[in-house]
């Protein structure tokens, strides 16, 4: 589904990604872990198409298409979803408006009719209940005045409504208490499907207690240094990241 080859990228003139290789197949969950400043968030943002991040080399294909040639909105409509590490507050633009516009944009791209207003509201209410979100969400601006936990839940809610083929979740677990973490994990697990894939970008392994990944990768210094199964995450939790870097001579 996703194939990243030798991807390098610059942010504000500084080389952050230095040749990332990663392949994700449909039905899989991958965890990308790594120390602070290793390039995890940059990778997520580059995949979603952030324009001020400059790709300097390599290629990314998404379902056989050249992802890097697509505008951010085209990527979204093609089924790529980024859960933001820091979801943006947009006062004055209603949560429901945004989500409805997003869903309709996707449906339009797929040649489907616009969603019926009643059906849409019923869908949102169902997903809100699943994500333990309060009714006030419906009348508020996008992420406006939300707590950190509410913002993360809203990211997952949007994901559940949009049903992406590939979800890239950037530290969706950070800043959550244990109850919220379970709710978020349930949300992500509910999307697991042989036709979909999930990339979890995370700093800690505790999310992986609830979402069992097929593969774990260590991103450090702008490259994937090591890949393995779930046991790698546990080892990282125990030993930190230094030994991986040392073993690679990085």
């Amino acid at each position: 589904m996703l194939k990243i080859s030798n991807l390098s990228a610059r942010v504000a003139g500084k080389e952050i990604l230095k040749g990332v290789d990663l392949s994700v197949n449909a039905g899989e969950v991958h965890a990308v872990m790594g120390p602070n400043g290793s390039g995890k968030s940059t990778l997520a943002q580059v995949l979603a198409g952030r324009e001020d991040y400059e790709v300097t080399g390599g290629s990314v294909s998404f379902e056989g298409r050249d992802l890097l040639a697509m505008a951010p909105e085209e990527r979204a409509r093609a089924g790529l979803f980024l859960g933001f590490q820091y979801p943006v507050e947009i006062p004055g633009v209603n949560n429901v408006y945004l989500l409805k516009a997003a869903l309709n944009a996707k449906r339009k791209a797929a040649g489907e009719p616009e969603v019926d207003a009643y059906e849409f509201l019923a869908l949102i209410r169902e997903k809100m209940k699943f994500m333990h979100m309060s009714e006030t969400f419906l009348t508020r601006g996008v992420n406006e005045g939300f707590s950190g936990g509410e913002k993360k839940r809203n990211e997952v809610l949007q994901m559940l409504v949009l049903e992406p083929k590939l979800a890239i979740l950037d530290e969706t677990d950070s800043g959550l208490d244990i109850d919220a973490l379970k709710v978020v994990a349930d949300g992500i697990n509910s999307l697991r499907d042989p036709a979909r894939a999930v990339v979890l970008v995370t700093h800690y392994q505790r999310l992986l207690d609830y979402i069992v990944p097929d593969q774990v990768h260590v991103l450090s210094g702008g490259r994937i240094l090591k890949s393995g199964d779930k046991s790698l995450a546990l080892e990282l939790e125990r030993r930190g990241y230094d030994w991986v870097q040392a073993a690679q001579g990085a």
Binding site: A48, E73, F81, I90, P91, G92, A101
Partner: protein, 434 residues
């Protein structure tokens, strides 16, 4: 002397004597001494009136009837319980049937008032502050033909709409609408003044509104400019507030080719409070210049100036705000906040917050920023699949509509949001979101 000045003088000579002649003469002489402002005048440095000065103006027809479409529909109507007074080129057309709330509101024309109580009228025509800001209302004082006097004596439940229509029969007509609003002690009202123009001519409208709020009176006042792109509008609003009175004022510039608005408010007694909101939309090649002055002349007075502006195309938007804290106005509390959004590289926004403090122990804050759309917000919306145009339109609307959240009459808020959407690029697109 410029052609415009000569034509104003000719108008003055053509006026018949009335009980106000002395007040009017003084005003006319004063205006003629000051003349038409130029870019050298401090508060006019961003607004060039040379083409106005080069024209000769004649009175807009006083007997104009409404025919043909105006540039905007009324913001409120009787279905929403609103009372409406029409003013055509400054001449009030009072409704035939008396208002159901006539025990809380009395309405008369200024012609009537000048016969019945010329002293009262003359008092309301005196300039409130120094002449520099007042020159266009001086001209209005000298030349207005008729106008409207509203006295609110109780708590007015329904909003009142004053619909000003500029209707010219030929090019270069001028009208001088004059409105006086007096709110008695403890009384309250919501009053909307809406300015529209009719036809494709280029009328000049020089309007003046005087508001006097007595002790503990409360007023929500709007002036909404929705004239056509050829119209020139110079509007002066003076507010005087007595002890404990509260005023919420909205200045909303959505139309007009050249619009200059002034709000000059005097917080004359302790406890007076003013919340002013300005929403300025510059598009195409339009020019909007908004002056907002709050003078704290007594202790424990409070003012808030909140403004949002956008400028697209080759438009220019100017926001001059000033807070003056007079000697002895202890514990004055003021805030000035301006945010501008540039939508095109050829548009321009100028903002000048000024503060003049002559007292100790005051709390005065100000902030002013102008920039482009927040790239983080834009990227967030794109990453959800919205196309760029939709995302930008929504962000622009959200930025501006923020000012309208303070509107307390739901029908008025919804009408103003619609009017705002109509003036924005991609209005059809925005309508789908409502």
């Amino acid at each position: 002397m410029t052609p415009a000045l000569r034509s104003f003088e000719a108008q003055w000579r053509g006026r018949a004597a009335d009980p106000l002649s002395q007040v009017r003469r003084q005003a006319m002489e004063h205006f003629m001494r000051l003349g038409i402002p130029t870019l050298r005048d401090e508060s006019w440095r961003y607004t060039d009136l040379r083409s106005l000065a080069a024209q000769s103006f004649v009175d807009a027809p006083q007997d104009a009837m409404l025919g043909g479409a105006t540039h905007a529909a009324p913001l409120l109507n009787s279905a929403e319980g609103a009372l409406t007074v029409l003013m055509i080129n400054g001449r009030p057309v009072l409704p035939d049937a008396p208002f159901s709330e006539s025990n809380s509101l009395s309405i008369s024309t200024l012609r009537e008032l000048s016969r019945i109580d010329p002293t009262l009228l003359a008092r309301h025509l005196e300039p409130l502050s120094d002449a520099e800001q007042q020159r266009w209302s001086l001209l209005n004082t000298a030349l207005f033909v008729d106008g409207l006097y509203l006295k609110v004596t109780g708590k007015l439940a329904a909003p009142l709409l004053i619909l000003h229509v500029s209707a010219g029969a030929s090019a270069a007509t001028v009208s001088y609408p004059r409105v006086i609003i007096e709110v008695a002690p403890g009384a309250s009202a919501t009053i909307v003044e809406q300015h529209v123009s009719q036809g494709e001519l280029a009328p000049l409208c020089n309007s003046t509104t005087r508001i006097e709020l007595h002790e503990d009176a409360e007023l929500e006042h709007y002036r909404v400019f929705l004239s056509g792109s050829e119209a020139t509008h110079i509007d002066s609003l003076d507010v005087r507030q007595d002890r404990g009175s509260r005023c919420k004022q909205f200045t909303i510039v959505l139309g007009g080719g050249l619009v200059r608005t002034t709000l000059d408010s005097q917080l004359s007694r302790p406890g007076a409070s003013l919340d002013s909101y300005s929403l300025l939309v510059g598009h195409e090649s339009r020019h909007a210049d908004c002056v907002n002055i709050a003078t704290h002349a007594a202790p424990d007075t409070r003012s808030r100036q909140t403004a949002r502006a956008i400028a697209g195309g080759t438009s220019r938007v100017v926001f001059n705000s000033k807070v003056v804290v007079g000697k002895g106005a202890m514990h004055a509390d003021s805030q000035q906040s301006f945010r501008g959004l540039l939508l095109s590289p050829k548009a321009e926004i100028d903002s000048r917050p000024q503060l003049e403090i002559h007292a100790d122990e005051v709390k005065c804050a100000h902030g002013s920023t102008t920039g482009r759309l927040d790239p983080n917000m834009l990227f967030y919306m794109l990453s959800r699949g919205l196309d760029r145009q939709t995302a930008q339109s929504l962000l622009v609307f959200a930025f501006l509509a923020d000012v309208l959240t303070g509107v307390s009459v739901p029908a008025a808020r919804s009408a103003m949001e619609s009017a705002l959407i109509t003036q924005l690029p991609d209005s059809q697109l925005l309508r789908n979101f409502r």
